[in-house]
Amino acid sequence: MKLGYFPGCSLQGSASEFDESLQAIAPALGLELIEIPDWNCCGASAAHNLNRLLALALPARTLALAERTGLAEVLVPCSACYSRLILTRHELDQDEGLRRQVSEIIGMEYQGTARVLNILEVMGQIFQDGLKGKITKPFEHPVACYYGCLLVRPPKVVQFDRPEDPRTMDELMKKIGAKPIDWAFKVECCGAGFSISRTDLVAKLSSKILADAQRRGAEAIIVTCPMCHANLDMRQEKAEKWAGRKYSMPVLYLTQAIGLALGLPEKKLALHQHLVPVSFPVKAKPAAKAKAETAPPPAGQSEE
């Protein structure tokens, strides 16, 4: 699969391991990523609070560049970037006048031809036919799939999965042998933008998420959003202080989990960059392989 690629600032900085792990698994999944030339900041978390036109112009420019490069689909791993790009596309689709205005501002024609895809959509497509054989080391752990707030909202715009109880990531996890737990905080707020300004809030919110994941026996939390990762991993210590209990809950990017299942070396997946060490209670079952493909329904959903 050939896709345009918009890393955004996070994947070049705080979340470089997301980028590295994605690049690492791409070849194995037959995924070719063409980075949008001269892409720019999506304006996330700040621009849209200050200036609507700016908030639209920034993503519009990147998308326009993608169009020029002849890219029909653009993969945007960072949930914040994804949100900004898809919202922009939506708004400009609705309003021809606005589209022209923005096109003028960015000094090139924005047509809205390039589709914006999040990492789950892309992986979902790739995993459709189960990747027989490719899973060499099934990722056999109970995991909490954490989607965060931006991936599924606003439902009308993103039109991706079920807003309150999404399932795409859970399905993916089953396919690589993991057991997604049924839990309540899939789309709760982690504190996101307050990561720097109000760490106390982040501690509180993230702690609740970590607590529920732990209570329901998750051995790791899987995320697709650099913000979520920052708050759950980097701020986990603070969360533990706030809650007065230890979590020591590894927080992995989806791509890292997949990488492990593909048998890639931890180094290539940049697991070492996490603050909470990625280690699991050791247990090796011979029946693992078989299980990996015929993903067993996790406890939570079996009763249905």
């Binding site: 079920r162 309150e164 109880d165 009763e303």
Partner: protein
């Protein structure tokens, strides 16, 4: 030569205040064909009416123009006056010099001039009026009632007791509808079945009522007084005449784990089943989608067991054709299921249930015999959270209306729960409490004050399971939107009352319109609440909008009285303002060329095809023919007809043309 009389009303100062009556009368006198013209203070008063009567007699008037208020106001009055004095009422016209002149313009020459124009226009029309006679349509004095809920039951009984035949058609195996599912009813807390079942039995035994359960409407043709209806009587799989309703078949049926519709899936049923013990008729049906025999071709346990040998696996559906004079639609409603709510787990958590399901839990005849036990583990819940307005009044959910009954039944539910589980906690999240109705507000206060139900004003953003509990996250807007989190054992959603899934098709079948929520539309929200825009078809109950039982029953009786009124005459007469197709002597017979564009255009399917034949039966031509019983007189066909072969009585081309030429 026409002899028109013009009668100008002052309407006190209302007209005379801005229009100069003298001038109008004088001008009217000069209009060709006008032989008499007077003005009077109040033309609609008795002396005024007498002026008209006398003039008609003395001046031998052939037409009357009353220049006064809007014809929508007094046309019937003055037409009656004419009729009483032997002048065909349709020779009387009104010039609207009040609403359309004196009230909307200042006193001036121009206003008087306009009044004169309006009079002249109507005089020119009146000159060309022809006597018209009401259209008589025979009436079949049998009513079809669609839906056997409380509305249908009430309507059927009222019509039947008025001495007319009734066909009651119910889709389900038994009549009773939602009311039969209820435990107690607000605000009196009397047991629903206790008050309903006697009515159900009455329906079954009434000599004037024919009951068709497990049957559906197939099609409706015809028009008021003369509907032709096809009903599909679905195969029950049993011979109703032989079946004694002993129930052995159900006992012997190996499939016992089918969610019972009647118990809103709170209980189970078998594949051959009677929906509930008091069902009317008390005869089982076989669920062909589930029955092993229909699926796999073997089993027949019921057949072996049936002492009456009444099982008929090969029974076909039956189409019944009936003629009815009126139709009462009482097809009721549905409630949203819990799957509708993402924030409440898409119906996944077993212990989040709908109000209707709670009714079954609380019902003495329900699966738990009235004990409140939560579905997941059958435990008695210590804390129950009731969420009002689940879906209702929420544009985001596409349901902007208020479901009306939820405030009341939620209070009732909380109350019932507290009565059964004294130490339990009941919380109600609400937006507003809407308890308008006799003893309603008092009822809610009782729940709050005497039974200690905790009311929290706010919405619930999320409910999720955690260690066997349901965590209810909401806000208390009376405490500054303070977040509230309650650990509940059972959550009851007062889910919105919505139109039946089949409402649209039904509406199309019976040619009535429906609103944006697919509730059937009444003819007028205030003045014709139980009529529809299709004459002879009436509505009652929740098929029209959310209703509680008292309103539903009142509406049902209202609809029944409309039907009774319709049936009270052997013929019904309709305004003769209808289209007619030109006919003339041979060799033309009719200038209609039979292109039947009118047939395509008619909103009422009133255009029929008529073959003109020679004496020896040779076809000469096929022309359009208007069915006077069906035509509503819109005149769309008239404007369409190129040859002017169709005309509209009361608004003929000649009349309207003359009006234009008189402006």
């Amino acid at each position: 030569m026409s002899r028109i009389g013009v009668f100008l009303c002052h309407c006190g100062e209302n007209i005379a205040g801005t229009v100069d009556p003298g001038k109008v009368v004088e001008a009217a006198n000069r209009i060709p064909g006008v032989v008499h013209s007077v003005d009077y203070k109040y033309m609609c008063s008795d002396p005024g009416q007498n002026l008209i009567r006398e003039a008609m007699r003395d001046k031998r008037l052939t037409g009357v123009v009353v220049a006064a208020c809007s014809p929508r106001m007094h046309e019937p009055t003055f037409r009656r006056v004419c009729a009483e004095s032997g002048l065909n009422p349709f020779l009387c016209e009104m010039a609207n010099v009040r609403e359309h002149c004196s009230w909307v313009h200042e006193k001036s020459e121009l206003t008087t001039a306009k009044a004169i124009d309006l009079v002249r226009i109507m005089v020119e029309k009146a000159k060309r009026n022809r006597p018209l006679f009401p259209i008589k349509v025979p009436v079949t004095k049998t009513a079809l009632v669609l839906g056997g809920g409380i509305a249908g039951i009430q309507a059927s009984l009222d019509i039947a007791n008025a001495g007319y035949k009734v066909l009651l058609v119910e889709r389900d195996p038994s009549i009773g509808g939602h009311m039969a599912q209820l435990s107690e009813t607000f605000p009196t807390l009397d047991c629903s079945q206790c008050i309903l079942t006697p009515r159900m039995v009455e329906v079954a035994q009434h000599p004037n009522i024919t009951l068709h359960t497990y049957s559906e409407l197939e099609s409706v043709d015809g028009f008021i007084g003369n509907f032709k209806v096809k009903i599909r009587k679905k195969a029950r799989g049993i011979d109703e005449k032989l079946c004694t309703g002993c129930g052995v078949c159900a006992q012997k049926c190996p499939l016992k784990k089918i969610p019972s519709e009647f118990n809103a899936a709170m209980g189970m049923r078998t594949a051959i089943y009677t929906p509930f013990p008091q069902a009317v008729p008390n005869k089982p049906v076989i669920d062909k989608k589930r029955c092993t025999y229909y699926l796999k071709g073997k089993c027949k346990a019921c057949e072996k067991a049936c002492p009456a040998e009444a099982i008929r696996f090969d029974q076909p559906d039956e189409i019944i054709e009936v003629e009815t004079g009126a139709i009462v639609c009482t097809t009721g409603f549905e409630v949203l299921s819990t799957e509708f709510f993402p924030e409440y787990g898409y119906g996944k958590p077993k212990d989040i249930i709908t109000g209707l399901q709670f009714e079954r839990l609380a019902s003495a005849s329900g699966p738990t015999l009235g004990a409140i036990r939560r579905p997941s583990d059958g435990k008695e819940p210590e804390t129950v959270v009731f969420i009002a307005c689940a879906g209702s009044r929420d544009p985001a959910k596409g349901i902007e209306y208020c479901s009306k009954i939820c405030c009341m039944y939620t209070a009732k539910h909380a109350m019932l729960y507290k009565h059964k589980v004294h130490q339990g906690n009941a919380y109600v999240f609400y937006m507003d409490i809407r308890a308008g109705g006799k003893m309603y507000e008092e009822f809610v206060r009782r729940a709050i004050e005497e039974d200690g139900v905790k009311y929290i004003r706010g919405r619930v953003s999320r409910v999720y399971e955690q260690d066997g509990k349901l965590i209810v996250k909401g806000a208390d807007t009376l405490l500054g939107a303070q977040p509230v989190e309650i650990e509940a054992d059972l959550v009851v959603l007062a889910t919105a009352m919505v139109a039946n899934s089949g409402a649209e098709e039904l509406a199309k079948k019976i040619h009535v319109s429906y609103d944006s929520y697919h509730f059937l539309a009444e003819a007028h929200p205030k003045l014709r609440p139980v009529e529809t825009n299709t004459a002879g078809i009436f509505l009652a109950g929740a098929c029209q909008a959310p209703r509680d039982i008292p309103e539903t029953v009142a509406q049902a009786s209202a609809a029944a009285s409309k039907v009774a009124a319709l049936f009270s005459a052997d013929e019904l007469s309709r305004e003769p303002v209808i289209a007619v197709v030109h006919r003339t002597a041979p060799p033309i017979f009719s200038i209609c060329e039979g292109c039947f564009m009118c047939e395509q255009a008619c909103p009422f399917q009133a255009i029929e095809r008529e073959e003109i034949k020679t004496r020896d039966g040779k076809l000469i031509k096929v022309v359009a023919k208007v069915n006077p019983g069906v035509c509503q007189g819109c005149g769309t066909c008239v404007a369409l007809c190129r040859a002017k072969a169709i005309d509209l009585q009361g608004f003929t081309n000649e009349q309207v043309y003359a009006e234009v030429m008189a402006v």
